[in-house]
């Protein structure tokens, strides 16, 4: 018996077809993964299921009864509770008022939260709570409605490992109670270990459904990419280790309690990986290097010359480009790809008066080509998929030119195909003699693209690992601050 049955659902937004004909069957007591590259239609399908939007064709039934929700509230009342990537909590009001707004039972909510090992003051203004905790709160709120079907959209993407483990435990428990979970994730290893079955969407059609077991990772990737099959990550080109010239030298950088005595160097022609758990001070480090924030102490040298950044433009003048973790802060959402790519070059092209569009066009089209940006929705970047938006933020620095690119978790929530393209691009930058400083929350991606890695824990450099020793297990231990690791050169 199917718990939930989605039958040939279609949905178009204007001329853009988001779903052609999607099918999904979830049986009671299973964790079902919904997979697909960016733009495959996962989000649209979940929006239809949760009453955020309506379907054009097809049908959905829950426990053999046809359903069609006209609002998220209705979906919740009928046992379908989603937890979205961006927690659906109102930032300016207290947590208690948020619960009241969604008619959530306070006692149930608190007990779910306690089961997660979290205690939160309900009178706290919601917007002041950190994102990982906010996601757990959103999850606890969803659980308080005793959902038949729990939908978790990329919930583990920004969670520290301990919280992610709790989420997994909750999913298991939910499953044990004979209810089901729809789990959306880009972390294939996670899918393989947690989920019972998986459905893969591609171009708005379900292309494959199968039981997950050992080795299904490859099958997932193949069906996600279809004929455009390619390895997960581009194999590393000849490493640019040859160069021993140092581009950036950071010494004793300190920022309050969050960063203390951070020293490291970035060589020319290398991709330096930075491994850390969420919130170990890496965000501050990136902001300082990008000129967004002034450090309390320490020095930065570029090409051996001491520099003091007072404004991001000072960093840009030193050919340091910054790709921030939140794509939304970097992009001009209502403007075209073209303008978004050119925005940092305006200085170069002409600072006052009319922008010379011929020279701009050349730079921009070069960037679009080299990054393989999908330009179908070229008029407004907010219509692009996450992966393509990320390419635009990187492409911006390709058009400007840079010596060092600071990439803060550039592949979060991005499909494997685009990931591979982005990493191949980084290797290309390094081979051209540029440098990349890469922070990624996905540890196993570090050995695939980096030349060496530094580890930050509680605002301090914990050590440096040569690439041969950067296997996931070693990194995992190191980012947790476990001392005495073999091969960890204490800096």
């Amino acid at each position: 018996m199917a718990h939930l049955k989605i039958d040939n659902v279609a949905k178009s937004y204007g001329s853009v077809v988001a779903l052609k004909s999607a099918n999904l069957e979830v049986i009671p007591g299973e964790i079902h993964a919904l997979l697909g590259a960016n733009g495959a239609g996962k989000s649209t399908l979940m929006k239809i299921l949760t009453g955020v939007t309506t379907l054009d064709a097809g049908s959905i039934s829950l426990n053999d009864l046809p359903i069609s929700f006209s609002s998220p509230d209705e979906a919740r009342k009928n046992g379908v509770a989603p937890v979205f990537q961006d927690p659906a909590l109102i930032p300016d009001i207290s947590l208690r008022r948020n619960l009241k707004l969604t008619s959530t039972d306070e006692k149930k909510f608190v007990s779910h939260l306690q089961a997660m090992g979290l205690t939160v003051d309900l009178s706290t203004i919601t917007g002041l709570i950190e994102l990982p905790v906010l996601r757990m709160i959103d999850l606890a709120r969803a659980l308080s409605h005793d959902p038949e079907i729990l939908i978790l959209d990329e919930i583990t993407a920004a969670l520290p490992i301990d919280l992610a483990e709790k989420v997994i435990a909750i999913m298991e428990k939910h499953k044990a109670n004979g209810k089901s979970v729809i789990f959306i994730s880009h972390r294939l290893a996670e899918v393989e270990s947690i989920c019972d079955r998986a459905t893969v969407l591609r171009d708005g059609i379900d292309v494959d459904t199968f039981a997950t077991d050992e080795g299904s990772e490859e099958r997932i990737v193949t069906s996600m990419l279809g004929t455009k099959s390619m390895p997960i990550i581009n194999p590393k080109s000849e490493l640019g280790i040859g160069s021993e010239q140092i581009f950036l030298e950071v010494e004793n950088l300190t920022q309050g309690q969050m960063l203390t005595g951070v020293s490291f160097t970035v060589k020319k022609g290398e991709v330096l990986g930075l491994a850390a758990l969420e919130g170990q001070g890496q965000d501050l480090l990136f902001e300082i290097l990008a000129g967004e924030r002034k450090p309390d102490g320490g020095s930065i040298k570029v090409n051996g010359e001491p520099v003091k950044f007072k404004h991001p433009r000072d960093a840009i003048a030193r050919a340091i480009g910054y790709v921030p973790g939140d794509r939304k802060t970097a992009l001009l959402p209502q403007r075209s790809i073209h303008e978004n790519l050119a925005v940092t070059t305006f200085r170069k092209i002409r600072s006052w008066g009319k922008i010379n569009s011929t020279s701009e066009s050349e730079l921009v089209s070069n960037a679009i080509d080299s990054l393989q940006i999908d330009t179908r929705a070229a008029s407004q970047v907010r219509q692009l998929s996450g992966g393509n938006q990320q390419k635009v933020t990187i492409g911006r620095w390709v058009t400007t030119g840079f010596d060092l690119l600071l990439c803060f978790d550039p592949t979060r929530g991005i499909d494997v195909g685009t990931k591979a393209q982005i990493y191949a691009l980084m290797r290309e930058f390094a081979d051209q003699g540029h440098s990349v400083l890469l922070f990624t929350s996905e540890l196993r991606e570090i050995p695939l693209v980096c030349d060496r890695a530094i580890i930050i824990y509680e605002g301090k450099i914990q050590g440096e690992l040569p690439i041969e020793k950067c296997d996931e297990a070693t990194l995992l231990n190191a980012v947790h601050g476990l001392p005495g690791l073999p091969g960890l050169d204490v800096a």
Partner: protein
């Protein structure tokens, strides 16, 4: 973790101090300061305070109503026209009809904004012209009046300032206080704070906006009736409604309402509207040109917002 709330509280404390200083100043200025003088001050404040409450509510809900002064003006003209020379009961009925009319205008405004998708500021700018136009058609020559006993419901008798004070306190206690606790109230904060999250939390954004403008209209209606009772007349003059609208926005901002929506309460704006009343009155007491009081009011508004912004920044840093 509670810095935001602390900021709100410190803002209210700030505006209260400003209110006390100016109040003391004004009391020193007058040869005699007693019940009658307090009553005069409150009566001068009632229309603007009620309007400030309506505007603040709308701003909390993520909107802004540039027609709120016009709405009050329309109700002022309607009531002054039809209450003139009538009995108490008749005037009371007219007042109720006036309130219904202003709520209806609010409903219509909220509906237009939701249905058209045009920004609040544009829609209400347009409706402000329409509403003032209607008022001018209905009531071309200033005048009219009201039943004397009915007017005393707001103006009170003798030197007691209890009734004028209740004219502000009752709407606050009977509309705002229960609204703040209700689901509709939370929904108003929600759509002002983050529309998408509000929608995902099950809020019907369009209906909530209509309710928001309807309640805002109710406050504007009260304000219009208060104006009729205080001035015993009505006048359809566009400069009056424009000044009233701008003062209501100024009172909201001074009172700690974030123009970005989702933040604030109605207590601050009420005190702020008294502050706004005091500045020209005190200046006038010194025989200073009213033009200067405009400059001072503007400077004060910017200074307060600057200090508020600085406090917020500090709260964020220390987080």
């Amino acid at each position: 973790m509670k810095n935001l709330r602390l900021r709100e509280r410190s803002w209210t404390i700030g505006i209260t101090i400003l209110f006390l200083i100016l109040g003391f100043w004004r009391s020193q200025q007058l040869p005699k300061f007693g019940g009658y003088e307090i009553k005069t001050i409150i009566l001068g404040v009632v229309p603007i305070a009620l309007l400030a409450m309506g505007q603040s509510l709308i701003v909390i809900g993520g909107g802004i109503n540039l027609a709120i002064g016009a709405e009050a003006l329309l109700i002022n003209c309607l009531t002054a026209k039809f209450m003139n020379g009538t009995s108490f009961i008749h005037s009371l009925l007219i007042a109720i009809l006036g309130l219904l009319a202003s709520v209806a205008v609010g409903v219509l405004t909220g509906w237009i904004i939701g249905a058209s998708g045009i920004a609040d500021i544009v829609v209400t700018l347009a409706t402000s012209f329409i509403i003032v136009g209607i008022a001018m058609v209905i009531f071309p020559i200033p005048g009219g009046g009201t039943n004397a006993h009915f007017a005393q419901l707001i103006t009170g008798g003798g030197n007691s300032f209890l009734l004028p004070l209740l004219a502000i306190a009752l709407p606050y206690l009977l509309i705002w206080a229960p609204l703040y606790r209700s689901r509709t109230g939370i929904a108003i904060f929600a759509i002002g704070s983050n529309k998408d999250a509000a929608f995902l939390s099950g809020v019907d954004v369009k209906t909530t906006r209509i309710k928001l403008y309807a309640i805002g209209g109710l406050f504007a209606g009260f304000s219009g009736i208060a104006l009729t009772c205080v001035t015993k007349s009505g006048s359809a003059i566009i400069t009056i409604s424009n000044a009233a609208t701008l003062n209501s926005v100024a009172a909201s901002v001074l009172g700690g309402i974030a123009l970005s929506g989702g933040v604030g309460g109605l207590f601050g704006p009420v005190l702020a509207s008294v502050v706004i009343y005091f500045i020209p009155t005190i200046m006038l007491g010194y025989g200073i040109d009213p033009a200067y009081s405009q400059i001072i009011q503007g400077t004060l508004t910017i200074s307060v917002v600057l200090v508020g912004g600085w406090l917020r920044l500090r709260a964020k840093r220390s987080k």
